[in-house]
Structures are given as C-alpha cells and as structure tokens.
C-alpha cells in the first residue's frame, strides 16, 4: 500500500518534471551560467558587474516581451530590430526640434509599421517571416536615409534621464523593463487579449470558429510587438546617449534565442512573457559575461546561433504538429 503511494507520488513528480521541463531547465541553466561566470571572473556579481548586467538586459527584455506575443501566436517578427533602430534614430535626430514629443512620434511610427506587418500577414496572407523581412528592409532604408549613416550624439539631458537616473542603486531603465514585463505578463495571463493570443497560436481555425476575429487579433499583436520594439529603441537611445546604423546589429538571433530559451515554442500556443525573463537573463548575461572576459562578437554569434538551434529543438512540442514548413 505504502509502496504504491510512493510510486504514484514518484509518477506525479515525474509527470510534473516532464511538463515543466523547460522552466526547470531554464532556471538550472541561468544558475549554472551565473555560477560559471562568477567562478571565472570574480567581478561578475560585484556592484559594477551587476550594473553592466542590468544595462545589458533591460532594453533587451522590453523588445523580447513584444516578440514573445508574436511567437506565442505561432508567427515570427523579423522587423523588431529594425524598428528598434528606427525609433532610436528618430529620437536622436529630432529631439532638437520637437523636444520630448519625439517619444510619442517614434512610438507612433513603430506602431504604424506594426500595422503594415499585420495587414500584410493577416489580410494579404503573406507568410509572417517574409512580410516582416520586407518591412524591415524598408525600415532599414528609411533609417539609413534619415541618419545619412553618421553617428549622432544625444545632448538632451532630460531625455537621457529616462534611462540613467539611479533609483535605489539601479538605473531607471531597469524599472521600465520590469514594468513592461509585469504588464505583459498581466496581459498574457489575466486579460482576454492574452488568452485570445494563446488560442490563435494553438489553433487559428478553432479560434476563428469560437468567435475570435483572428485577422484583427493578428494585426493587434503585430502592433503590440512593434510598440514594444519602439519603446526599447527609445530607452536604448536614452541609455547609450548616441548611435548610428549599427544599433541593434546582430541582435535578431539573440533576441529570438532569448524568447525560445525561456520556453515559448515556435509552434505557438504555449509559453508567454513571464518565461521570457529567464531566457533574457540567460542570453544577455552570457553576452555580458563573454564581453567581460573579452571574448569577441564572432564567437558570441556562434554561441547564440547554436543556442537558438538547440533551444528550438528542445521546446517544440512534436506530438501536436503534423506538417512543418
């Protein structure tokens, strides 16, 4: 009798472990990474090191939260990095003329491009990857046209204070990122919008039959993703204090890897922004740790490519899908 109970408990715990494998795996990976870097480099978790880590992860988390909604829906948004760049450049170029009004302007432009993304995807039935790739080429063109390829410096102190005011020992961009993360988690878990996103990601046809306006919802999700990309760009510019076309270079794959490493599968319908925090911590802290050890960008790219590959293999639920393109 007792043995049976033990067996049942063991089975339940195994079932629990299997179901939550991605979460447990992410936590284990994060702890292993922190411990590893701390052993190699004792400055990793000193105050100065933590400031570096926070700066590295904050803007990343904002952009990744937006991308998570799109991946949750089973689509992909290639244009996040380009929109981040465009928003940052708009801020630095027009701050003299418009003052702080550039922030709503940049966000509005980003949301507009998000609307175009969603329109191409939902109405014109273009695969989301190609639609957003096309839009991102246009956005890169606009950013290059506006910035003329030069480096621009942000002189406005009120704008910069958005990100680099220290509150309780940490820069304010950290609180922005945490706020965005909490709002995104709230939207995904407690609000109809988030539940609909899960439904559309799990089964678009079923979601349509149960009364969700799938097309409109897809457009809204792309607009949300672009909005957060723009917000990340604005705050990143405030953090950096200047930038050129090189902002966000090679950021696409780490961004994608951080969403997937958190446990949001590419097939859609599972995961969520609450998991993305772990993924962002894993990815950006690897990046920052490697930078502190003076490991170059090329090896980082190899690492992130392999992480993206490995994590997408691990997270995808292969029982549910029959055909994958």
């Amino acid at each position: 009798m007792r043995g049976e109970k033990m067996m049942v408990r063991l089975l339940i715990s195994q079932e629990w472990l299997r179901r939550n494998m991605t979460t447990v795996g992410s936590i284990v990976a994060a702890i292993a990474i922190i411990a590893g870097f701390q052993v190699i480099n004792p400055f990793f978790l000193r105050y100065q090191g933590i400031i570096t880590l926070v700066y590295a992860m904050s803007y990343f988390l904002i952009a990744a939260c937006g991308l998570t909604f799109v991946i949750m829906m089973g689509s992909f948004d290639f244009s996040v990095v380009s929109l981040l760049k465009l928003a940052a450049l708009i801020c630095v170029l027009y701050i003299d003329k418009l003052g702080l009004l550039v922030i709503p302007l940049a966000l509005l432009i980003c949301v507009g491009f998000g609307f175009i993304n969603g329109l191409l995807f939902a109405k014109f039935k273009v695969p989301s990857f190609m639609a957003t790739l096309g839009v991102s080429v246009v956005v890169e063109g606009i950013a290059l046209y506006l910035s003329k390829g030069f480096l621009h410096i942000m002189y406005d102190e009120t704008f910069r204070a958005l990100a680099i005011t220290f509150i309780a020992g940490l820069p304010s961009i950290f609180y922005w990122a945490m706020g965005v993360w909490i709002i995104c988690t709230f939207i995904a878990i407690c609000m109809p919008f988030g539940r609909r996103t899960y439904a559309v990601g799990g089964n678009p046809i079923g979601a349509g039959l149960s009364g969700i306006n799938v097309e409109r919802h897809r457009i809204c999700v792309f607009m949300l993703s672009s909005f957060f990309a723009g917000l990340a760009g604005v705050l990143y510019m405030a953090q950096l204090g200047g930038g050129s076309m090189l902002i966000g270079k090679d950021m696409t794959i780490p961004l994608f890897a951080s969403v997937v490493a958190g446990g949001t599968a590419l097939t859609g319908g599972v995961g969520g922004p609450h998991r993305t925090l772990l993924g962002v911590i894993i990815i950006t802290w690897i990046q920052a740790g490697m930078l502190m050890l003076a490991i170059g960008r090329d090896i980082q790219m190899v690492t992130f490519g392999l992480i993206a590959l490995g994590m997408s293999i691990v997270t995808i639920d292969r029982r549910r899908i029959k055909i994958i393109k």
């Binding site: 992909f76 639609a131 080429v137 960008r297 090329d298 293999i313």
Partner: protein
Amino acid sequence: MKIPGRKKLIPPVIIQTLKTHPVIIVLITLFMMFSSLYPERFLTPLNFSTILKQFVTLTLFALGPSIVVVTGSLDLSYVGIWMLGGILVWLLMPILGMFSILVIPLLGLATGFLIGVIQVKAKIPSFILTLSLLVTYSGLTATLSGGYPRPVRGYEFITARLIRYLPTAFLWSIPIIIAAVFIIKRTRIGTYLYAIGSNEEGARLAGINVDKYKILAFTLSGLFTGIGSIILFQHLGGATPVELNLNNLVWPLVAIVLGGTPLIGGSGGPQRTILGALTFTVFYRGLLLSLLHPQAIQLLVGLLLIVSIVVGTRGLKGVTIT
C-alpha cells in the same frame, strides 16, 4: 463560322507564356522605361555586361533555395555556405593545394543534408533553422578568418575573360541552371517535390516518402549553392566577406519571389527564378544609373519585395499561414 482574313496579332504561344510568366511584362516595361529615360547611360555594352555579372551572382545564390521553396520551406543558408566555404578554401590551400576549392560544394552538401535531417526529425520551421545556422556560420567565418577578408590567388582561370563584355561566370552558370531546371521539371524528384509543396499530407498518403524527398530537396539546394559558390568565389574577387550583409540575404529572396514562386510551395521553381533575377537586376541597375539617392534605392527594393510577395500570394485561398 470563321471570320476570313482575320490574322492573329499575337501567336497563342506567346500569350500562354505571358500568362504563366507575368514577370516578363514587368521586365520588358522596366527595360523600355530605362532605355527611353536615359539611353546614353543604360544602353551601353558596359552596362549590359554589368547586368549579366549581377544576374549571375543573384542566380547562383537563388537557384538552390528555389528548389526548397517548391516544397514550401525556405533555405536561407546560402550566404553562410558561401562565406564559410571561402574561408575554408583559404585555410586548406596550404594543405590541399588547388583541390581545396572542392571544399565549398562538400560544405554545401553537408549543410544541406544536416538542415534536411534536423528539419524533418526535429520539426523546426525551416526559416528559423536556416537563419540560426546562417548566423552560426558567419560567426565561424569571422572566428576562422580573424576578422579580415582573406583573398585567395590561383583560381583566376575560372573567370578568365573569353569573350569581350561576356562574363565567363555567365557561361559557367548556364550548365548549372540547366541541371537545376532539368531536375525540377523532367525527373521524378521534381514531380514529387511539387506534390509535397502543394499538399504534404496528400503526398504522404499517395505513398511518397516525404521525409526522404524533403531531405533530398535541402541537400540539392546545398549542393547547388556549393557549386555556384565556386564560381561566385572567383567572380566576386577571390575572397568572401566576413561580415553578414542583409542585402546578400534579401536580394536572392526578391529574385525568387519576383520570379513568381509563391512561398507557400507547389509551383514555380528555378526556371522562374532566372526571370526574377534578370528582372531584379535590370530594376536595380536602372535605379542605380538614375542618379537617385543610394539610400532611396534600398527603400525601393524593400517595397518591390513586399509588392511582389503580395501579388505572388494573391488568390491562394484556404491556405493556413504562420
């Protein structure tokens, strides 16, 4: 009752061709437009030679992926194969001598096979799989090369000029193009790939070994990219860049989509990609000669990509997209 004396203005063969390849109309329109706007710059032998050179570059990049696009998947690894292959040639040159150029097709073959196996067994969407691999390859390229482009001498004979104004790389690309079109149009493999692209479940029920043919499609794509990269390697100066450029990635995709291969799969193929590449090259050269702002050209290229995808996928009802 036949109306006597009425001649057909356009032979039906041409109408049929135009219906299946509407991009020809675009090509002729663009050509007429540019040659009437500034004939002194556009209608020169030098410009035509440049158009051919650029056409070769685009076609050799886009041929392999267009085989994969027929099955409805996407293969973005071509730039990676080209970059890593070039650096491997430089590394292996002291050991293998002239034979080291063969490492590029071998790399292409191995990459294609690897992508195919992972895609079929692990069921990852192919675009993100190949994109991750591409980034990995470009990182490897930068690591192995130490961050500098490494020129390799000794292969100049591949693109030595035979005929004036006619790039030798163009002559080389003709047999490759013919081989790709032959495989997709005249062999069983091609037919099966079209079947998989239009309805994978149906193809499986009809007894086609879908997994095997999907792996084969990716392998063929890698192989064609590899063989093309031998020519491209010398054609573009005997060295490959170590920095990933978005244009290298996007332009072949524009050529594929512009040619009329919808990304959903089931139709199109390399024969249309050639037309797409030619149209895109004429478009690009025409804009470049038009004294427009260079940054505006990139904008127009992006718009062209969007418009051609939208036009290419119109009327495909009942397709689930992701």
